[in-house]
């Protein structure tokens, strides 16, 4: 299914092509042994590459255009999804989708940032970059979930909040700040999953919750490696170094207690098998929900406040 090949995957693809050519010839030639050797080599190479991904390579996987997006997860994990639209104030931000749905026995509110897969759908979705009305739409949906006592699940996948002129006029900063404030005291459980790109305040604007999960090949930080490179190195060329310096992978962030759990992806990345990925995530979410729904709202909020109050590293 992979139509997009990332640079570090090229050696694998080349070897796989060679292998399929050999297989075509194998009827006439006695090369079964050689085929077996190449097969082992492919397997070895894959393991070597996918088990030793650099931080920048994970960023590339997180942005893979065939990676499952929010709506893919909604269709694959949930039943009876009813999408809700609009912030009841300005408009319906298409960069964020959300609505009530069932994840088997659990009724939930699921909200996530949505990217497009081609130029047209990306323009429709604004590349997953929310405007203020998007954050306000998400908040409206969360309040609705609170009203009907349903847990909230948010899926984070954005290159950032939209840095546009109108976004500033309509209070992008206030919209994000308000969400952080309101999510802190929402009386229902909130599970946050970083499924792809978790870029800065734009991601965090729907990313405050009781359990923060992160897919194995996603990234989450205060700035993208490219922007960090352009500011600190004065050039776009240092994105690999910036990705290393920012420590933006799931493995990094679990050590800093910024996330609670890493969700494994199918071998080679979520894009290799949407069904398998969605099933893994669904089971993880169900497990988390089963624990969270037992907690009383006051306790839930108390824990949430404590969790975020303790984040930070300093000397005294």
């Amino acid at each position: 299914m992979a139509k997009t090949i990332l640079d570090f995957e090229k050696p694998i693809i080349e070897l796989e092509e060679k292998l399929s050519e050999m297989k075509k010839l194998s009827d006439n030639l006695n090369i079964d042994n050689e085929i077996k050797i190449i097969e082992e080599k492919v397997q070895h190479l894959k393991e070597n590459i996918y088990k030793n991904l650099t931080r920048w390579q994970r960023v590339q996987l997180a942005r893979h255009p065939e990676r499952p997006y929010t709506l893919d997860y909604i269709y694959l994990m949930t039943q009876d999804f009813i999408e809700l639209h609009g912030d009841r104030n300005f408009k319906d931000d298409k960069a964020v989708v959300g609505g009530f749905a069932k994840i088997d026995e659990y009724k939930v509110m699921i909200i996530g940032q949505q990217k497009g897969r081609d130029t047209k759908s990306n323009l429709h979705r604004n590349f997953g970059m929310m405007n203020p009305e998007g954050y306000r739409k998400a908040l409206r949906l969360m309040k609705l979930a609170e009203k009907f006592n349903k847990p909230v699940i948010t899926l984070l996948d954005t290159p950032g909040a939209y840095p546009g002129l109108e976004a500033e006029e309509r209070g992008q900063a206030e919209a994000i700040a308000r969400n952080l404030f309101e999510m802190a005291k929402l009386k229902v459980p909130i599970i946050v999953v970083i499924i792809g790109e978790g870029a800065s305040g734009g991601a965090l604007g729907i990313g405050l919750g009781d359990r923060i999960l992160m897919l194995e090949n996603s990234w989450y930080s205060v700035i993208s490696p490219e922007s960090c490179s352009s500011i600190l190195w004065r050039s776009w060329e240092f994105k690999e170094q910036a990705a290393e310096a920012l420590k933006l992978t799931a493995e990094d962030l679990i050590k800093l207690k910024i996330i609670d759990r890493i969700v494994q992806e199918p071998f080679g990345g979520a894009h290799k098998d949407h069904n398998a990925m969605a099933l893994i995530l669904k089971n993880v979410i169900k497990e988390e929900l089963s624990l969270l729904i037992k907690t009383k709202p006051e306790k839930l909020i108390q824990n949430r406040v404590k969790k975020f109050s303790e984040l930070g590293v300093y000397e005294e």
């Binding site: 976004a167 700040a177 952080l180 205060v222 910024i258 406040v305 930070g312 590293v313």
Partner: protein, 279 residues
Amino acid sequence: MAWFKRSKQNIHPNSEKSDLPDGLWEKCPSCSEILHKKQLENNFWSCVKCEHHFRIGSQEYIKLLLDENSFTEINKKIRSGDPLLFIDSKKYSQRIDETIKKTQLNDAIKTGVGKINGIEVAFGCMDFSFIGGSMGSVVGEKISRLIDKSLKHKIPLIIISASGGARMMEGALSLMQLAKTSVKLTLLAEEKIPYISILTDPTTGGTTASFAMLGDINIGEPKALIGFAGPRVIKQTIGKNLPEGFQTSEFVLEHGFLDKVVARKEMKNFISTFINLVS
């Protein structure tokens, strides 16, 4: 998050001294008037001719807004670690050491308790001269503890922002300070303790997208740059020049995200009047 480039210019009144020999004279960046430092100080660090508000630090704000000798600093010793072992052109730890030496500040915010026209307040003030007033773990923790102080003594909270946003060198940890400060403010709201947010030039990025926009009253200083994305990034995105006055206090007031633009010389009385009205 364009603080890095901007921090090179106009950080402190001192940066304008260039061709004026003894450091006692400043040139107004707005109207080019040459001003003596004493003149400036007596005029609340604003230009006597055009009222341009010079960027000043926490020390100056404490003098201007709090009753004489009423300020007691708290948590002064909290210092930045280097949790990511971050290196760009230099090590983050080295950058911190050098900045502390240069600015005589321990990080980008000073916090404590003091009095405004006799009213006891919890007072925090950011310093743009400290790595562009960027918010990392130290700023987050000091605000968090200042809120605890405010809660404990049931005294109003005042925070003066001057910040380019979250501090890159602490990666996601600095992003989490947006969440941390906002979460703590819910506790203050629950106790119905007033929170006054004052936004000065510049307040952008993660600082605006968290505690700075969450005041019971949001006040801007005249012509301060206030926004989420930096003007350069927005210009790049839309491929057009930005309109005159875009992202100034007056613009943000007009769009409904500030309650008032208050000149520095009116600020102290304005704050105490507000606190009295809601107490």
